[in-house]
Symmetry: C2
Subunit: 238 residues, 2 copies
Amino acid sequence: MMDTNATVADRNLSRLSREPLWDRAHAQLREALLAGRFEPGSALVLRHLAETFGTSITPVRDALARLVAQGVLEQGPRNSALVPDLRKSALVDITMVRCELEGRATREAAQKATPADIDALDALLADMRGMIARRALDAYLDVHRRFHFGIYALAGIPILDEMIENLWLRCGPILSFVVPEYVVLLKGTDHHQAALDALRRRDGAAAEAEIVADIEEAGRYLLSLADPSGRIRRRVPA
Amino acid sequence: MMDTNATVADRNLSRLSREPLWDRAHAQLREALLAGRFEPGSALVLRHLAETFGTSITPVRDALARLVAQGVLEQGPRNSALVPDLRKSALVDITMVRCELEGRATREAAQKATPADIDALDALLADMRGMIARRALDAYLDVHRRFHFGIYALAGIPILDEMIENLWLRCGPILSFVVPEYVVLLKGTDHHQAALDALRRRDGAAAEAEIVADIEEAGRYLLSLADPSGRIRRRVPA
DNA sequence: ATATGTCGTTTGTTATAACAAACAACAAAA
DNA sequence: TTTTGTTGTTTGTTATAACAAACGACATAT
């Protein structure tokens, strides 16, 4: 009886938001990945996640299947879904493809960006500087992502955006490793500013070069975190 | 009773092959897409496909969910899966990303290809010529795909391969439209041969240029098939 | 004749149960 | 002590039923 009431309540709740349960599970998993809330190498267990989300295993299974199909999660033995534990070689490969795709997107963006677009990105850059000063590093990661994708969105090529987001998701579990050590040194900030300046001058080649440099610099730092076996590990597991 | 027997038989069958049912459904759908056996714009119906495959809707649902997650199928109203009906702009975008990625893969391949690798690809090229002469166009499409991916595999970058395959799948429904008109004119064959020659000379830039030219040429032909609304249609619907 | 409302059908979603494979723990034998 | 066999648990897979939203057909009303 209480069971029935709970079910009805849940149904009504889900009806309000107008989106399937698996969609919500998918979004929550994606966000958790990007925020680095999952231990690289760990297994994602259907019934466990279902309990967390308060649903049956069906929507969770759906969400995990999609993530695996996107290459965001690996499929381990017994078709289980595991959080990828990126090795050096995989990181090098992803970085290369990222440079290729994000570089091209930046070049295209230079042709289409309006002054208003640039100003909006400039505001994000100011936010980012403030967050570093205040050591608000979680928030920084989020705005940093919006800055990059803000540029790529200007290119107006949805498929490019999709593939770039996929690449970010693939290194999601280790993306947060750049904080705090790397980010607070302001290593990449010059590239961000320089890319924006180039965009304002409509200099596509220069903007592309800056973004590529930014990606490669972060890639090199992440690579330096690799342990002898090639796995990328957080500096202080805290 | 007969029902029970049938189920048991199916179980044993699936146990033999050692792969989940959804995996087989996924592979069959992928193959059908690449072969152009699905009408662009049509909806893929769970219960219908389930009957075709002789399974319940669960594995089919799984397979479709993955295809949609990969961007290979679109999700229509009511979260249904539909075969994408590519428009001009989408085709232009995909062609651009293909050039970027397949060009880069070819350049990398030039550094790693051994004479034996080139010889194997040369054999495929000979096959392709024979198939065109015999007008074995379905078989041609298949070998043509193996030729391209044979080159990209030489780069040894799994993530690149994955993303390129994804792009091919995205235009799978219209890929077969290049036959028979375009292919029999041998338009692209020179590029294939020239790319292979460049690979043999370890001239990465030249090989990349040939592959890019091949992709762009096919892209232009496909674009010329667009009707006034921008949709790409088969020349003679047979 | 066109508009509208009702009802049955289609179809994706979710929960659930039965199932089999993998794994771990523990006990028994060499 | 080490190895092996058994058993219980965990966990992904599949089939199935109940469900709700969308769609279409048909009848009724204006």
